[in-house]
């Protein structure tokens, strides 16, 4: 292992992952599409960063880029750096990447059935993950697998190790995937819509589990979701993405109590909330997300923004510092009316 990607655990609050000016392009039938355009963010040790946005905003592509798992040969990183504990993963060798993937960063996907191999027993798949990064005997690996299953709250783990994925419920399968991601004792877990395919009561269990495990093991989490509720309840830091760019980033309080970007405000306004009066019309964001091949010039939100001025169609807004870590990509953020918590 290289000296920069140290094997010691990072200290809490230290910057673990620092993504700088990341750009990703895809070759499509219609030409080259820039799915991620100049995105920067960082993740501190022991903290959870939420990345939120609608379909096609680039949140999943950003996550895949970190582990260099972009679909080949269509997708590639065309600019920027991904510094993981000081080491740039964009230029890292396959060997180093392998070490990072198997020993440092775990990944959880949306649909556990596709992440698990249907023809292998749970225990075998977990042992495989353990054996990738340590030199224990297969028997010890299987024992550790039982321990991992127990840790993620699977009842009778000693029986479950010899079962196949289809014998488990969706929630239990996602627990197995979490156990796999944790097998290497990672510094960072990237969870891409980990609860979207689950029922809301099961989702609550899984989010609670991830929080408990984080408290216990101290890993950082990047949680990618379209659900602002999930973000609010689990994250310390939030990045809102729109059409491949960062719209706004800050602490969870910044984003939910002091949103500065018209898009963030529009999203928060458009969710029906339990305390709203019945059948009140919801506020909406007019229009729809532009296609990646057909992005407007200037600010990418300009065709839907109620505050658009000429400047918005002429030049892309830089990320401006609002206060502390709170940053917003809007020309007019200082002039917007004060934010009011949504009431219908």
């Amino acid at each position: 292992m290289s000296s920069t990607a140290a094997s010691s655990s990072p200290s809490r609050g230290e910057v673990l992952l620092d993504v700088q000016d990341l750009s990703v392009e895809f070759d499509t039938e219609a030409g080259r599409a820039r799915a991620v355009d100049g995105v920067s963010f960082s993740v501190r040790a022991g903290q959870t960063l939420g990345i939120v946005g609608e379909s096609g905003c680039g949140k999943s592509v950003t996550a895949l880029s970190i582990l260099r798992l972009l679909p080949q040969p269509m997708g590639r990183i065309v600019g920027g750096r991904i510094l993981f504990r000081g080491q740039d993963l964009v230029t890292a060798s396959e060997d180093t990447l392998h070490q990072v993937r198997t020993g440092r960063i775990g990944m959880i996907f949306q649909e556990p059935m596709t992440a698990l191999n249907p023809v292998h027993r749970i225990g075998k798949q977990l042992s495989e993950a353990i054996l990738l990064h340590s030199t224990v005997s297969p028997r010890t690996a299987l024992e550790q697998s039982v321990g991992l299953l127990k840790k993620v709250g699977i009842p009778s783990p000693e029986l479950r190790v010899s079962e196949f994925p289809h014998q488990l419920s969706g929630g239990m399968r996602q627990r197995v995937v979490i156990a796999m991601a944790l097998a290497c004792g990672p510094d960072l877990v990237i969870a891409d819509e980990p609860t979207t395919a689950l029922d809301v009561t099961i989702q609550a269990q899984i989010l609670e589990l991830m929080k408990e495990l984080q408290d216990e093991m101290g890993m950082s989490i990047i949680l990618i979701t379209h659900d602002l509720g999930v973000i609010a309840e689990t994250c310390e830091d939030v990045m809102v993405m729109y059409a491949g760019r960062v719209a706004e980033t800050g602490s969870v309080e910044d984003i939910f109590h002091r949103p500065a970007h018209p898009y963030t405000r529009g999203l928060l306004d458009s969710i029906p909330r339990l305390e709203f009066p019945r059948k009140a019309r919801l506020r909406t964001i007019e229009g729809m997300v532009p296609a990646l091949m057909d992005l407007p010039a200037g600010c990418r939100f300009n065709n839907r923004c109620p505050y658009r001025i000429d400047r918005c169609t002429a030049e892309a807004p830089p990320l401006a510092a609002v206060a502390g870590s709170h940053r917003v990509g809007c020309h007019r953020w200082r002039e917007l009316p004060a934010w009011q918590e949504p009431t219908a």
Partner: protein, 326 residues
């Protein structure tokens, strides 16, 4: 009209589970098992539950996309559940359906225009030019440009396709629309547009909705009354606001508590259920929620609690299927 538009009485939709060499029926999957509910003119009844609870099967049973095993589906007094197929046709005008994924429910080979004209053709209404006129009118009502008429479904985004699905559903002036997860495949900013459209259409056309969804926040927002389903049964029903403010069933409470709210750091006082949902094939005797209920007692494992009225009566009743007053 003084009575309910739709009255479902003790509806059961069971599917045979086949296995073995000869594929003989080995058991019954009791997807819907004794559900009663009514929808009155102009109101929205929300049907909430998690995957596999039978809510979609219930919706499909009402429009006879599946045939119920037992019970009645009374639409303005006529029992649709027992009606032979050919006599259902007039009722298909009155009861329409909107599906979750409009990409699947729209025929990809037809232009939007021919899709919207089809209901009129089937029911022999109007001539060629008046049908086209109607299609354009429908597009305008659901907020799509006239140019959409000659395009194909794949040329539209998810939200626009759902608008096409809605246009098709309202084409024949139905009285009742079954909305099966109409916004769950859509992004947040589009979801609110479609919900507003459904609310506007209801007001304008005096529609009734049976609104089926897993998202209680969405259902509560659009519904006058709500029924909560669990494993084929209604476990609680009543006024939408009352269900939210004064839920009586432990499952409803857990469901409300589990909804992630867009308010930072609320997580600490949420109630987390443990246990697994039993299979609807050979469910355990007694209460369907017993395996996950924090208040479970011996009686819950033996007797099925009936849905009993705890406040109000008739249409205004708040009913709950639990042995206890929690």
């Amino acid at each position: 009209m003084s009575g309910p538009l739709l009255e479902i009485r003790d509806l059961r939709t069971w599917f045979p589970v086949r296995g073995g060499v000869l594929l003989s029926a080995r058991g019954q999957c009791k997807a819907v098992d004794g559900v009663s509910l009514s929808v009155w003119p102009g109101e929205t009844v929300g049907l909430v539950g998690e995957s596999g609870c039978g809510k979609s099967t219930l919706g499909k049973s009402v429009v006879r996309l599946v045939k119920p095993t037992a019970g009645q589906v009374l639409f303005e007094g006529t029992d649709l559940a027992s009606l032979p197929g050919r006599r259902l046709k007039p009722f298909r005008r009155e009861v329409q359906m909107i599906f979750q994924d409009p990409a699947d429910s729209l025929n990809s080979r037809l232009t939007v225009g021919s899709m919207l004209e089809e209901p009129f053709l089937i029911h022999g209404i109007g001539d060629e030019s008046s049908r086209r006129e109607k299609a354009l009118e429908l597009l305008r009502i659901v907020g799509l440009p006239p140019a959409a008429i000659d395009r194909f479904p794949f040329e539209f985004s998810g939200g626009q396709r759902q608008r096409i699905g809605i246009a098709r559903a309202i084409a024949l002036n139905p009285k009742l629309i079954i909305c099966d997860e109409p916004v769950s495949a859509l992004d947040a900013s589009i979801q609110s547009q479609i919900l507003n459209l459904l609310l506007d259409l209801q007001e304008r056309l005096n529609l009734s909705y049976l609104f089926i969804a897993h998202d209680l926040a969405v259902v509560k927002h659009v519904s006058d009354r709500i029924a909560i389903m669990y494993l084929g049964h209604v476990v609680e029903s009543g006024d939408a606001e009352e269900i939210y403010r004064q839920s009586r069933h432990p499952y409803t409470r857990a469901l409300i508590s589990a909804i992630p709210q867009p308010v930072p750091r609320r997580g600490s006082y949420r109630q987390i259920l443990s246990g697994e949902v039993p299979s609807p094939i050979d469910p355990p005797p007694g209460c369907p929620f017993q395996t996950r209920c924090p208040h479970v007692q011996a009686v819950c494992r033996e007797q099925m609690p009936p849905l009993r009225e705890v406040a109000g009566s008739g249409r205004e009743a708040h009913a709950v299927a639990c042995h206890f007053d929690l």
